[in-house]
C-alpha cells in the first residue's frame, strides 16, 4: 500500500470526503447512543432540538460559540504559520484577569471597555510571546511550553481567586467580585440574552480574514507556515513574522476570556472555561484554518455541546459524548482532507 498524490482532485472528492467524515461521526454518535442503551435516532434528534429547537436554545448556542470563535481564530492564525499554540486556554484566562482588574471599579465609562479589551489583547499576546521567543531564540518546542503554561495559569488564577482577587462577598467560593455595570458588554438587541462579544467575534473573524488574504503580513504568515525554508530564502523576516503571529494569536485568545467575563459571566471563577482553549483547536481544524470558516465550525461545535447537555438531561447519555464526537470529528476530518490530496494505491 502506498499513497499517491492526486494532481487535480475532483469537486466530488473535495466535498465528498469531508462530508463522509461528518457522516462517519454521526454514525459513531449513534453507536455510542446504543452503547448507552438509548435510541440512536432519539438521541440525535434531542441533540438537534437542544441546540436549535427554541429561541432560548439558539441564543445559548450563539453565546457558547462566542469564546470558541475567538479561540478558534487564535489557533487558526497560529497553525497557519505552523506555530503550535496549544496555550489558548492560558491566554484566555489572561484576558479574563484583565477584564476583572480593570472592570471592578478601576476605570469608568466610556473608557473601561475599550481600554480593558486593548490591555487584555496585550496580555494574551505577551503570554504567548514567551514561548515563541524561546522557540525562535533557543529552539525550544512551543507545543510543550504552551501546554505547560496552561497548568501554570490555572494555578495562578486559583491563587488570585483565593487571594488578591477574592470576592469578599463570595461566601468563601473562589470567585472574583462582579464587574461594574459600565464594564459589562451590552446586549446586541434589548431583551435578547446575546452580548456584543458575539458581534466583536464576528468582526475579528473578518479582520483576520482580510489580514491573511490581503496584507503582506498575511502573505508572510502563510509562506512561513507552508515552507519556512523558502520564506527565509526569499528574504522574509521569519522570526519577526512568527512573533507577530504570536501577538495576534495570543491576543485573540485573550479576547475570548475578556468577552466571557465582560459579556457572559460578569465575574471570574475557576470554571470560566470548560476547555474553550483546547476546543478552539477542533474549531480551527474543522474550518481548515479558514477564519470565516471558524465562525461556522464554532457554531457547529457550540451546537453539539449545548445539544448534548440538553440531550443528556433527558436521555441519560453522559454529556461527555459531545467531547468524544468532536475528537472523532477532528480525526476523521484531518484524514478526510488528507485523502482529497492523496489516494491509496497498491504497490
Amino acid at each position: 500500500m502506498r499513497l499517491e498524490p492526486v494532481a487535480n482532485p475532483t469537486l466530488l472528492r473535495q466535498l465528498g470526503l469531508p462530508a463522509l467524515a461528518l457522516a462517519a461521526t454521526v454514525l459513531v454518535a449513534m453507536g455510542l447512543a446504543l452503547l448507552a442503551g438509548a435510541n440512536p435516532f432519539a438521541v440525535l434528534g434531542q441533540i438537534l432540538t437542544g441546540a436549535l429547537g427554541s429561541r432560548l436554545a439558539v441564543l445559548e448556542t450563539l453565546n457558547r460559540a462566542t469564546p470558541l470563535i475567538f479561540t478558534g481564530l487564535a489557533v487558526a492564525v497560529a497553525f497557519r504559520a505552523k506555530l503550535w499554540n496549544i496555550g489558548a486556554e492560558a491566554q484566555l484566562y489572561a484576558g479574563a484577569i484583565i477584564a476583572v482588574l480593570l472592570g471592578t471599579g478601576a476605570l469608568g465609562a466610556p473608557f473601561v471597555l475599550p481600554v480593558s479589551a486593548a490591555v487584555a489583547l496585550l496580555a494574551g499576546a505577551m503570554l504567548l510571546l514567551v514561548p515563541v521567543l524561546l522557540k525562535v531564540r533557543l529552539g525550544v518546542d512551543e507545543v510543550v511550553t504552551t501546554l505547560l503554561l496552561n497548568f501554570i495559569m490555572a494555578l495562578f488564577v486559583s491563587y488570585l481567586l483565593e487571594g488578591p482577587l477574592k470576592d469578599p462577598m463570595g461566601m468563601g467560593w473562589p470567585k472574583s467580585p462582579a464587574l461594574t455595570p459600565d464594564a459589562r458588554l451590552p446586549r446586541i438587541v434589548d431583551g435578547l440574552r446575546l452580548h456584543w462579544g458575539f458581534g466583536i467575534a464576528l468582526i475579528a473573524a473578518v479582520i483576520v480574514w482580510v489580514v491573511q488574504t490581503r496584507t503582506t503580513l498575511g502573505f508572510e504568515m502563510r509562506a512561513v507556515g507552508s515552507n519556512i525554508r523558502a520564506a527565509r530564502f526569499a528574504g522574509m523576516p521569519v522570526n519577526a513574522v512568527l512573533v507577530k503571529t504570536a501577538l495576534l494569536s495570543g491576543g485573540l485568545a485573550a479576547l475570548a476570556g475578556w468577552s466571557e467575563v465582560a459579556g457572559a459571566k460578569g465575574h471570574l471563577s475557576l470554571d470560566l472555561s470548560p476547555g474553550f482553549g483546547y476546543t478552539g483547536i477542533i474549531v480551527a481544524m474543522l474550518a481548515l484554518l479558514h477564519p470565516l470558516g471558524v465562525v461556522v465550525t464554532a457554531l457547529f461545535v457550540a451546537g453539539v455541546f449545548v445539544g448534548a447537555d440538553a440531550m443528556s438531561r433527558s436521555a441519560g447519555v453522559p454529556t461527555y459524548i459531545a467531547d468524544m464526537l468532536l475528537a472523532v470529528a477532528l480525526l476523521f476530518m484531518v484524514l478526510g482532507i488528507a485523502l482529497t490530496k492523496v489516494r491509496v494505491v497498491r504497490g
Binding site: 502506498r2 505547560l148 453522559p318 484524514l335
Partner: protein, 312 residues
C-alpha cells in the same frame, strides 16, 4: 530542609512519584526514537488510569488491570500510528486529537458505568512489598526497597527499554526508523511496521504509567487526575536527550522537586507562600528543563518527518 532530605519517607515518595513518569517517559521515548511524536500521551495516561482501575473494579486481579491498561493504550497508539505513519497526517494535530478522544472516552465510559456515584468507589491497590534483607538496611531500606511492585516494574521497564534499544536488532531498527527511515526500508524492513509497532508499545507503557495512579498511588479514578503529567513526560524525554538512562534520572530529579514542594508546604515557608506557587513548580521546572537542554541534545533526525515509500 535538611531534615526532609535525610528522611526515608521523602526518598520513598520520590520513587513513588517518579514511577508513573518513568513508564510514560519510556513510552514517549520509544515513539520518538522511532520518529513519531506522540502528543496523545496525556489522554492515553487517562485511559490507562481508567481502564486499569475499571478492570480491577470489575474483578480482575491487579496485574490483569495493568495488562488491560497496556492494551487500551496500545489501541489508541494504533489509532495514532495509523493516522500519522502510513497516512502521514500532522503528528501535532492527530496527537492532540487522540488525547481529546482518549480522555473523553474514559470520562464517557466512567459515567456510563457509574452514572450516579458522587464519591468514586475504591479498589484495593497494590500494597508495598518489602524486599527481603535489602529493606532492613537503615534509611536506604525503607526508602528504596519498600515500594509497590509497580514501582520496581517501572525501573525494570526502563532497563529493558535501554537493553532492547541498544543491544538487539529490534532496537537498532527502531533507532534507524527515527534517524533515516529510508536506510531501514533499503534493508528490507518495513518502516511503517516498525513505527506503528513502536507507537503501540510506547502508548501501552504510557497507559501503564496512567494505571499506576489508580492501581498503586490512589485507589480510585478521578477526573483530571493525570493533570499534565503526560506533557511533563514529553519535556522529560527532551531533558533526557532521548536516552533511557538520562530520562530516568530526569524523572527522579523531577519527582524529587515534587516531593520536596509537598513537604515544604508543611513548613513555615508554606505558611507564607501560597500553595499554588508550590504546585506550579513541576510545570515551571519542565519549561526550565526544556530551555536548559535546547540545542544541546541530539534530536532523532527523522522525528516528525513522515516517510513515504518510493518518494521521488
Amino acid at each position: 530542609m535538611i531534615e526532609i532530605l535525610i528522611s526515608a519517607s521523602f526518598w520513598a515518595a520520590v520513587l513513588r512519584i517518579a514511577s508513573p513518569l518513568i513508564f510514560a517517559t519510556m513510552g514517549e521515548l520509544i515513539c520518538e526514537r522511532a520518529g513519531v511524536l506522540n502528543l496523545g500521551i496525556e489522554g492515553i495516561m487517562v485511559i490507562g488510569a481508567f481502564a486499569g482501575w475499571m478492570a480491577v473494579y470489575l474483578g480482575l486481579p491487579l496485574w490483569g488491570g495493568v495488562a488491560v491498561a497496556f492494551c487500551a493504550g496500545a489501541l489508541f497508539g494504533l489509532l495514532h500510528g495509523v493516522l500519522v505513519v502510513p497516512f502521514g497526517l500532522s503528528q501535532h494535530v492527530v496527537g492532540l486529537g487522540v488525547t481529546m478522544l482518549a480522555t473523553a472516552t474514559a470520562y464517557f465510559a466512567y459515567r456510563l458505568a457509574l452514572p450516579q456515584v458522587t464519591t468514586p468507589p475504591k479498589i484495593v491497590p497494590f500494597q508495598s512489598w518489602e524486599v527481603p534483607v535489602l529493606s532492613d538496611i537503615p534509611l536506604l531500606g525503607p526508602a528504596l526497597f519498600a515500594q509497590t511492585p509497580l514501582t520496581y516494574a517501572a525501573f525494570a521497564c526502563a532497563g529493558l527499554v535501554a537493553f532492547v534499544l541498544y543491544r538487539t536488532p529490534l532496537g537498532l531498527a527502531v533507532r534507524a526508523a527515527g534517524e533515516n527511515p529510508a536506510a531501514l526500508e533499503a534493508q528490507g524492513v518495513s518502516v511503517t511496521g516498525v513505527r506503528v509497532g513502536a507507537v503501540m508499545v510506547g502508548s501501552g507503557l504510557m497507559a501503564v504509567g496512567g494505571s499506576f495512579l489508580t492501581l498503586s498511588a490512589f485507589s480510585s479514578f478521578f477526573f483530571e487526575m493525570v493533570n499534565g503529567r503526560g506533557w511533563i513526560c514529553i519535556a522529560l524525554v527532551v531533558f533526557g536527550a532521548w536516552r533511557p538512562g538520562k530520562a530516568v534520572l530526569g524523572a527522579l530529579l523531577f519527582a524529587g522537586f515534587d516531593a520536596l514542594q509537598i513537604r515544604l508546604q508543611q513548613t513555615p515557608i508554606g505558611a507564607v507562600v501560597p500553595y499554588q506557587l508550590f504546585l506550579m513548580l513541576p510545570y515551571v521546572l519542565s519549561i526550565l528543563a526544556l530551555v536548559a537542554m535546547s540545542r544541546r541534545a541530539q534530536v532523532p533526525a527523522a522525528l516528525m518527518v513522515p516517510y513515504a515509500k518510493g518518494e521521488r
